[in-house]
C-alpha cells in the first residue's frame, strides 16, 4: 500500500457513478489518503454508506436517503441537508450535518456521534441503541421512539410523543416538548447528567449552552417490565 498522504481525494458525483465512489471508499487502501471530498451529490441516496475505515469524508451539498448509513470509524461531514435515515445503524465514528435532516436520522444506531445543526424531522433516533445524537434546533414527532440506549440532545423543541416506549436512552431537551410518549417522563438532572450533557454539547460545538437549561427525559420503566396489571395493554 502507498503511504498515506494528506492530499484530499476528490470525487465528483456529477461525473462519477455513485457505486464507483462508494466502492472506492470501501477499499480505502487504494485511496492513498484518508481525506476524501465528494462534490455534487444532488440528493443522491446512500452517499458514503457502509464505510469501515478511519476516513475523513466531506460531502459538499444535499444528500438523499441513508447517507453515511452503517458508518464505522469514519468521520463524515455533510455540508447541506440530509434525506431519510442519515447515519442509520451507525456503529462508530461521526456524522455531521450542517443543515437539516429528514425523518429517522440515526435510526437504530449503536454508536458514534451524529450532529445535525438544523432540524431533524420525525422519528429522530428511533430505536437508537447507543449512539449520541445532538440536534441544533428542533426534532419532529415520535423522536427516540423505542430508544434503547445512547443519548439524544435537542437544543430546540421536540414534537409529539417524545420517547414513546423508551428503554434506557437518555434524552436532554432545552426547549418545549409538545407531548411525551408512553412511559417517557421528565427526570432530575444529577451531577453525572450535567457532566454527560456538557461533554456532548462540547463535542458538537455548543459548549456555551448552560446545561441547567435542559430537562432530562427517560423511561418510567413501567412498560417494559411485565406487569400483570398491564396485560390488557400488551
Amino acid at each position: 500500500m502507498d503511504p498515506l498522504t494528506t492530499d484530499v481525494v476528490e470525487f465528483d458525483l456529477a461525473t462519477t457513478d455513485l457505486r464507483r465512489v462508494n466502492a472506492a471508499l470501501h477499499t480505502p487502501g487504494g485511496l492513498g489518503s484518508r481525506h476524501v471530498r465528494i462534490t455534487h451529490p444532488a440528493g443522491a441516496h446512500a452517499v458514503a454508506a457502509g464505510l469501515d475505515a478511519p476516513l475523513d469524508v466531506v460531502v459538499d451539498g444535499h444528500v438523499g436517503y441513508y447517507a453515511a448509513g452503517m458508518n464505522q470509524q469514519a468521520d463524515v461531514t455533510i455540508y447541506g441537508n440530509a434525506g431519510v435515515g442519515v447515519a442509520e445503524n451507525m456503529m462508530s465514528g461521526s456524522v455531521w450535518v450542517s443543515g437539516s435532516a429528514s425523518q429517522s436520522a440515526g435510526a437504530t444506531a449503536h454508536g458514534g456521534l451524529l450532529v445535525i445543526e438544523g432540524d431533524a424531522a420525525a422519528r429522530c433516533g428511533i430505536s437508537m441503541k447507543g449512539v449520541d445524537i445532538v440536534v441544533g434546533c428542533d426534532v419532529g414527532h415520535m423522536s427516540a421512539f423505542m430508544a434503547q440506549a445512547g443519548t439524544l440532545v435537542v437544543r430546540g423543541d421536540a414534537g409529539e410523543a417524545l420517547g414513546d416506549s423508551i428503554y434506557e436512552a437518555r434524552l436532554y431537551v432545552r426547549g418545549r416538548v409538545a407531548s411525551l410518549g408512553a412511559d417517557c417522563v421528565a427526570k432530575p438532572m444529577r451531577a453525572e447528567h450535567h457532566e454527560e450533557l456538557a461533554r456532548l454539547l462540547k463535542a458538537a460545538g455548543y459548549e456555551n449552552d448552560d446545561t441547567a437549561s435542559y430537562t432530562r427525559y427517560g423511561s418510567a420503566r413501567g412498560l417494559y417490565h411485565f406487569h400483570v396489571d398491564n396485560v390488557g395493554s400488551y
Binding site: A42, G43, H62, G64, V84, S100, Q103, A122
Partner: protein
C-alpha cells in the same frame, strides 16, 4: 412508493420553461414508480387555449377527427382536438360544463382525465421518461404543473388507475401513500350520487375534495375534512387553477420536501427532484409538518 412533484411558478418569465422543469422533476422520480405517469399542466396555450374550455380524454376509441365530428352537432362553436400521447385534448369556446356534457353524451365510455379553463391532464401506463417525451412535456408552458410516477399497490395498472385525479373543474390531486378506509368513504360518496372511474383509493380522495369544494368550502377547510375522515398514509398535492396546496397525514412517513423562492414554489417526494430548478441553491427548503395544510395562491 410513488413519486410526486409540483411546481407553482410566480415569475411569468419562467412560464415558457414550465414543461422543461416539470419533465426534469418527473423523470428524477421515475425510480419511485415506473408503472405509469401523469401530469397536469395549467396554462399551456396549445393544450388549453386561453378563452376555451378543455376536456382531457383517454380511451375514446375514436380518432381526433372522429371526436371533433361527434361533438360538432352538439356544440355551436369551433372545436379543436389535440392528440398528446394517449390523451386527446378537446377544446371549445364554450362553458366547461357544456363541453363536458357534450363529450359525455357523444362518448359515454371515454375516460375524462380532467376538465377546466386552463388545465390539461396527460396520463398513461409506461415509464415516466418515455411518457414525458411522448407528451412533448419539455415544450409545455404554463404557470403550474403537477406530476406523479406510480408504483401501483392497491388497484390495477390502467389509465384509469393513473394519477393525477382531476375530477373537479381545474382541480387536480396526486397522492403518495395509501388510504385505508377508502372503500367506506367511496360508498358514502356513491350514496350522494357521485360516480367513480376506477377502484383506486386516490380517486376517492380527489372526489371527496372536489365535493367539499363544490359544497363551498375553501381548499384548506376541504383538506382539514380529508385529514379528519381518511385513515392511511398520504402526502397530497392538491392544485386548482389559482392555488397549490400540500398536506401530509399525522404520521408523515411518506416523504415530501418543499422549496420556495421568490420565483416559484415546488414540492417533490425527494430533494433530488428539485436540484435542477433555477435558484435552488438559495431556496427555503423544508419538510411539511404532519396534518398542517400549506397553500399558495396566484
Amino acid at each position: 412508493m410513488c413519486g410526486i412533484v409540483g411546481l407553482h411558478l410566480r415569475t411569468p418569465t419562467l412560464y415558457p420553461r414550465l414543461g422543461e422543469l416539470l419533465t426534469g422533476m418527473l423523470c428524477e422520480m421515475s425510480e419511485r414508480g415506473a408503472d405509469s405517469a401523469g401530469v397536469a399542466v395549467y396554462g399551456d396555450p396549445v393544450w388549453s387555449p386561453p378563452g376555451s374550455a378543455t376536456v382531457s380524454l383517454l380511451e375514446t376509441g375514436v380518432t381526433p377527427a372522429e371526436l371533433a365530428d361527434a361533438l360538432e352537432p352538439r356544440l355551436s362553436c369551433d372545436i379543436t382536438v389535440h392528440e398528446v400521447g394517449a390523451t386527446q385534448l378537446v377544446s371549445a369556446h364554450c362553458d366547461v360544463e357544456v363541453l363536458r356534457d357534450a363529450v359525455a353524451a357523444a362518448l359515454p365510455h371515454a375516460l375524462v382525465a380532467g376538465f377546466g379553463a386552463d388545465l390539461a391532464v396527460l396520463k398513461g401506463v409506461g415509464h415516466p421518461r418515455e411518457l414525458a417525451m411522448a407528451y412533448g412535456l419539455p415544450q409545455a408552458q404554463g404557470w403550474q404543473g403537477v406530476g406523479h410516477t406510480r408504483m401501483a399497490t392497491e388497484s390495477a395498472v390502467t389509465p384509469a388507475g393513473c394519477h393525477p385525479y382531476a375530477v373537479g373543474p381545474d382541480q387536480c390531486l396526486v397522492h403518495n401513500g395509501s388510504f385505508a378506509n377508502h372503500a367506506t368513504i367511496r360508498r358514502e360518496l356513491q350514496r350522494r350520487g357521485i360516480a367513480f372511474d376506477s377502484e383506486n383509493d386516490t380517486e376517492v380522495g380527489a372526489r371527496f375534495v372536489a365535493q367539499a369544494l363544490a359544497d363551498g368550502y375553501d381548499i384548506e377547510t376541504a383538506l382539514k375534512h380529508l385529514c379528519a375522515e381518511f385513515d392511511g398514509f398520504y402526502t397530497l398535492v392538491v392544485s386548482h387553477r389559482d392555488s397549490f396546496a400540500v398536506v401530509r397525514d399525522a404520521i408523515a412517513c411518506k416523504p415530501a420536501v418543499i422549496a420556495e423562492t421568490d420565483d416559484w414554489v415546488a414540492i417533490a417526494s425527494e430533494y433530488r427532484a428539485l436540484v435542477e430548478l433555477p435558484g435552488i441553491e438559495s431556496a427555503h427548503l423544508f419538510e411539511p409538518a404532519p396534518e398542517r395544510i400549506y397553500a399558495w395562491t396566484r
